[in-house]
C-alpha cells in the first residue's frame, strides 16, 4: 500500500483519503483505467482499491488470448459480424464498432508495455484461431494470456506516482450524495479499520459473478461485488440472464481448459470416440481446425451439444458425473508444451492425465457473466459520476453470448475509455459537502459492523452458499424451464431472508475473512436474484439463454431488447427492458459450420443486390 500517510486526514471517526478518481478492482480493467487516468492528467489523484493484491485478480486466470483484427485478409467488419452474430444480435452495435476499431491499437500498447506475446518467426505478434471467429485474430501469450496481461499492467502501473494503491481493501459501499456518487467506503482487511475515499468519479471494475453457481471456472473472489453495489444504488443490471457455460472444464472443480486447446486443433469426443458436434449443425468434421465450425463453434452451442449428448446417454460416466473427452493427442507433446503449457500442467498435476497420451475428461461449467452494470458506450452509468468496465459492466459488446478472446480485449479498450471519461468528468465537479459524506460513511460502517458483531445467528454460511449455487445450477443452467426457474426465484428470495440470521463464528477485526465472506454472500444473493428473475421473464431462447418450455425459438418481435433488473430491497427485482442499438447488422440466422458459410454467402448476395 503506497498511499502516503500524510495525505490521510484523520477525522474524528474515520480516515479520509481525497482522490479525484477512485477505481474499485485492480484486475485488467481497473489497472488499464488507472493508467489511462494517470496519462490523461498526472495531476489527478487516483485511488486504486482492491480486495486482493492486484496480481491476484481473476484476470490472472484467463488463458486463451485477446482478439484484434491483425492479418491482412481479416477486417473490422468480420470481427464485428462474428461478435454481433455470436451475441445472437443482442449487442450494442455502435459499441461493437468502436471495440473492433480500437482493439489492435490497445494490443500494440500492451506490447509496448512489455506483454510477452507469442511471436511469429519474423518477430510479429502471433495470432491463433478461436471459437466463433472467422479469421485467426487472437493474440496470445502461450496459454497464460490473462496472467501476462495482468502482470504487465500491474508492473507498468508502478511507474505512475499518481496511482495510490489500496491493496487488500474491501469495498463495502458507494457514497452517493446529491444524486452523484462521491466516494466509497472500504475496510482495510489487515486491521478491520474503515476508510472513506472521497472521489469526484468512481469506476467499478470488480469482475463477474460466476461464484453464484456451483461448478465454475472462477476464483473465489469473483463474487459480483461491484454489480451488487451499483444495483443497490438504483443502477440497473442489464442482461443478467446470459451466463456463459464454457464447454471444456475440469470435472469436480470446474477449472478451465482454454478454448485455445481447440484453436490448436483439439477434438471433442463422446463415449464412442465420435466427434459429436457434427450432429448439432457444426460440421463438417474436417481433420484440422476450420474456423467457426465443429470445435471452433461458439461456447453456447458447444455446451448445449454436451447437454444433448448427455440426454442421449453418449457421455462418459466419471467420478463427478458425465464428461466428454478433449482429445489433444494428435497435436503432439512438443507443440502442446509450447502452446499450451499450463493446460499440460493442469491435466498432469490435477487429473494425473498426460494430454499427449490420453484424452482429458471435460464438462461445461459456468465461466462468464455476459450482463452487468448498465453502461453507455463510454462506460458511464445512469448514476452521475459512476463508470463501470470489464466483466462487471454491460457496455454492450457480448450480447447473449460472448465470443472467447473478446473479453480480455474489452478490459483494455474500455479500461482506457473509462479512465479517460472519468478523468474528464472529475475535472467538472467538486466534492460538495464533506460532512454529509462523512455522515454517510459512518452509517455504512455501522451496517458493516452489524454483520460481524452479530450474535445468535442460526444459519451457517456454507449452507446458504451451497443452496444458492445448487439452485442456480438447477434453474439457470444450460437449458431452462419455467417451473425450475420459479423454484430458483423462490429459493433465492428465501435465502435472502435466511441471510439475515447468518451465524458468525469470528467477531474479531484483523483479517476476519469470515466477515468478508458474509458480505460477499450478500452481494452474491442480490446478483443471483437479478439473474433468475431476468431469466424467467425472457420468454424466448437466445444465445446462452435456452428454454425448453414452449419458448425454444428466438423471438425478435418481443425480445430483441435488453433486460434491465432494478433492485427492490427485500422484494423481487423490478424487470424492465431497453432498446438494442442496431447499426448495420439486422438480426439473421445464426449458423455455424457449412450452414454458417452458406448463410454468410446468402447475406453477402442479398447485400450486393440491395
Amino acid at each position: 500500500m503506497f498511499a502516503s500517510q500524510s495525505t490521510m486526514l484523520r477525522g474524528t471517526h474515520m480516515e479520509v483519503f481525497k482522490a479525484d478518481v477512485v477505481i474499485i478492482g485492480a484486475g485488467g480493467a481497473g489497472l488499464r483505467a488507472a493508467i489511462a487516468v494517470a496519462e490523461a492528467d498526472p495531476a489527478l489523484t487516483i485511488a486504486l482499491v482492491s480486495k486482493v493484491y492486484p496480481m491476484r485478480s481473476h484476470t490472472v486466470a484467463a488463458e486463451g488470448g485477446a482478439a484484434a483484427v491483425t492479418l491482412p485478409h481479416d477486417n473490422l467488419d468480420y470481427h464485428f459480424n462474428d461478435t454481433v452474430g455470436g451475441g445472437d444480435w443482442l449487442c450494442e452495435q455502435d459499441v461493437v464498432e468502436y471495440f473492433v476499431a480500437h482493439a489492435h491499437r490497445e494490443m500494440v500498447q500492451m506490447e509496448h508495455w512489455g506483454c510477452p506475446w507469442s511471436r511469429t518467426a519474423d518477430g510479429h505478434a502471433n495470432v491463433r484461431a478461436f471459437g466463433g471467429m472467422k479469421v485467426e485474430r487472437t493474440w496470445f501469450a502461450a496459454d497464460k494470456t490473462g496472467f501476462h496481461m495482468l502482470h504487465t499492467l500491474f508492473q507498468t502501473s508502478i511507474k505512475y506516482p499518481s496511482i495510490k494503491r489500496f491493496d487488500e481493501h474491501f469495498c463495502v459501499d458507494l457514497v452517493v450524495e446529491d444524486g452523484r456518487v462521491q466516494g466509497v467506503v472500504a475496510i482495510e482487511i489487515a486491521t478491520g479499520e474503515f476508510r472513506l475515499i472521497e472521489a469526484k468519479a468512481v469506476i467499478i471494475a470488480t469482475g463477474g459473478a460466476g461464484r453464484v453457481f456451483r461448478e465454475n471456472t472462477n476464483g473465489g473472489i469473483v463474487t459480483g461485488d461491484g454489480m451488487a453495489l451499483a444495483y443497490r444504488h438504483g443502477v440497473p443490471l442489464r442482461d443478467m440472464e446470459f451466463m456463459q457455460y464454457h464447454p471444456t472444464c475440469m470435472p469436480g472443480t470446474g477449472l478451465l481448459f482454454t478454448e485455445a486447446c481447440r484453436g490448436e486443433g483439439g477434438f471433442l469426443l463422446n463415449k464412442d470416440g465420435y466427434r459429436y458436434l457434427q450432429d448439432y449443425g457444426l460440421g463438417p468434421p474436417d481433420p484440422s481446425p476450420r474456423n467457426k465450425a465443429m470445435e471452433l463453434g461458439p461456447r453456447d452451442r458447444l455446451s448445449q451439444a454436451f447437454w444433448h449428448e448427455k440426454q442421449k446417454g453418449r457421455t462418459i460416466n466419471g467420478p463427478h458425473g458425465a464428461v466428454v473427452h478433449l482429445d489433444l493427442r494428435h497435436i503432439g507433446e512438443r507443440k502442446l508444451r509450447e502452446r499450451l503449457p499450463q493446460i499440460y500442467e493442469l491435466a498432469e498435476e490435477f487429473l494425473g492425465v498426460d494430454p499427449a497420451r490420453e484424452p482429458i475428461p471435460v464438462l461445461p461449467a459456468v465461466h462468464y457473466t455476459m450482463g452487468g452494470i448498465l453502461a453507455d458506450g463510454k462506460t458511464a452509468s445512469p448514476l452521475r459520476g459512476l463508470y463501470s468496465v470489464g466483466e462487471c459492466s454491460s457496455v454492450g459488446i457480448h450480447g447473449a453470448n460472448r465470443l472467447g478472446s473478446n473479453s480480455l480485449t474489452e478490459l483494455i479498450v474500455f479500461g482506457k475509455v473509462a479512465g479517460d471519461e472519468a478523468s474528464a468528468f472529475a475535472k467538472t465537479v467538486t466534492i460538495g459537502n464533506p460532512a454529509a459524506l462523512a455522515k454517510q460513511a459512518e452509517a455504512i460502517r455501522a451496517r458493516a459492523l452489524g454483520i460481524v458483531s452479530k450474535d445468535g445467528g442460526t444459519e451457517r454460511m456454507v449452507v446458504l452458499r451451497t443452496e444458492m449455487a445448487k439452485s442456480m445450477e438447477d434453474g439457470c443452467g444450460i437449458y431452462r424451464l419455467g417451473p425450475e426457474m420459479q423454484a430458483t426465484c423462490n429459493k433465492i428470495d428465501e435465502l435472502k431472508q435466511r441471510y439475515k440470521r447468518l451465524k458468525i463464528d469470528d467477531h474479531s477485526r484483523a483479517w476476519n475473512t469470515e466477515w468478508l465472506l458474509a458480505i460477499e454472500l450478500g452481494y452474491l444473493l442480490d446478483v443471483a436474484q437479478a439473474i433468475v428473475y431476468s431469466a424467467i421473464n425472457r420468454k424466448e431462447s437466445r444465445g446462452s439463454h435456452q428454454r425448453l418450455d414452449g419458448f425454444e425459438q428466438r423471438d425478435d418481435t418481443n425480445y430483441l431488447k435488453h433486460t434491465l433488473a432494478y433492485y427492490a430491497g427485500d422484494g423481487a427485482p423490478r424487470i424492465g427492458y431497453g432498446a438494442v442499438k442496431i447499426t448495420k447488422s439486422k438480426p439473421g440466422t445464426r449458423a455455424y459450420g457449412a450452414a454458417g458459410e452458406k448463410a454468410d454467402a446468402e447475406r453477402k448476395n442479398e447485400a450486393s443486390h440491395a
Binding site: 491476484r56 507469442s118 518467426a121 501476462h148 508492473q155 507498468t156 511507474k159 467420478p319 469470528d506
Partner: protein, 251 residues
C-alpha cells in the same frame, strides 16, 4: 462426501493478533477424497469446523499466487498440493517462513511489493516507438531470453525458501531479482544500466549464496537462482569493465 472417505489430521498454526500472544497449533480432523487439495482441506475446516481460520486463496489453479504456505515444513501452493500424499500421516500447515504473520496463514506481502517496485519492473524503452508504428519486433529466440522469468506468479514461496532472506530481510530476494532480470533480458528494454545499481548493491545479487532452494520450490519453473547467477556474472563483468570503459557505456 462419498461413503469411502478417509479422515486426515491437519494441524494449523494459528495466530490471532487480537487474542494470541504467540502462534499456537490447532488440530482438525478433516474428511477427504483423493482429489482434494490442501486448500480444499482448509476450506472444509473454515466451512464446517471453524469459521475463524484465515488464509488467502482465489484461483485454485496455481496461477494467482495467493495460497502459498508451509506444508510439513516445505513452501507449497496449497491448491496444488494434495491431501492424499500425506495420508495416513498428519499434515501441518503454517504461514510462509521468513515473512511476518498478519494472522493465521496470512503473511505480509508489502515488503515484497516494495522490492518489486525497486527493480523498475516495466519496460524502459531502448528506442521510442509510437503506437502507429505497431509492435516492436521480437523473435521467438529473443522472447525465450526472458519468458521463463516473466512466469513468476509472486507467490513468495522462494522467499520462504531463501536462507539469506531469512537472515537479512533487506535482501531484494529471488522473485524480485528474477523479475529484474526478466526486464534486463527483454530485447525491447534499455533500462539495464539503471537496474544494475540495485544488482551491485549490498541488497542485490551478492547477498545470494547460491543455495538454490528458491528454484527447487518454485511452482512455475522460473528458476530465480539462475537469474541471480546470470546477474552475478553480469555484475562482475561490469565491475571489471568500469576500469576500461567510460561510465554509462556498459549495456
Amino acid at each position: 462426501m462419498p461413503d469411502n472417505e478417509k479422515i486426515i489430521e491437519i494441524e494449523v498454526l494459528r495466530y490471532r493478533p487480537e487474542q494470541d500472544a504467540e502462534p499456537v497449533l490447532q488440530t482438525y480432523q478433516v474428511p477427504f477424497t483423493d482429489d482434494m487439495s490442501v486448500l480444499q482441506g482448509l476450506q472444509y475446516i473454515k466451512d464446517y469446523l471453524d469459521g475463524t481460520v484465515s488464509f488467502r486463496w482465489s484461483c485454485r489453479m496455481a496461477i494467482c499466487g495467493s495460497c502459498g504456505m508451509m506444508v510439513n515444513g516445505k513452501p507449497e501452493l496449497s491448491c496444488k498440493t494434495f491431501l492424499r500424499d500425506y495420508y495416513p500421516g498428519k499434515l501441518r500447515v503454517e504461514a510462509l517462513a521468513h515473512l511476518p504473520i498478519e494472522r493465521d496463514l496470512v503473511v505480509s506481502v508489502g515488503d515484497f511489493v516494495k522490492k518489486l517496485a525497486s527493480v523498475k519492473p516495466y519496460i524502459i524503452p531502448k528506442e521510442a516507438r509510437s503506437l502507429d508504428d505497431g509492435e516492436y519486433l521480437q523473435t521467438p529466440a529473443q522472447l525465450a531470453q526472458y519468458e521463463q522469468f516473466s512466469s513468476c506468479i509472486n507467490c513468495l514461496l522462494c522467499y520462504a525458501a531463501c536462507p539469506q532472506y531469512g537472515m537479512n530481510p533487506a535482501f531484494t530476494g529471488p522473485a524480485a531479482l528474477a523479475l529484474l532480470h526478466r526486464y534486463n533480458a527483454d530485447s525491447r528494454d534499455g533500462g539495464k544500466a539503471e537496474r544494475m545499481e540495485l544488482v551491485h548493491s549490498e541488497e542485490g545479487v551478492w547477498s545470494c549464496t547460491l543455495v538454490g532452494y528458491c528454484s527447487e520450490v518454485c511452482p512455475k519453473g522460473v528458476d530465480p537462482a539462475r537469474a541471480i547467477n546470470m546477474n552475478k556474472t553480469s555484475s562482475a563483468a561490469d565491475y571489471f569493465l568500469r576500469f576500461v570503459m567510460p561510465k554509462g557505456v556498459v549495456k
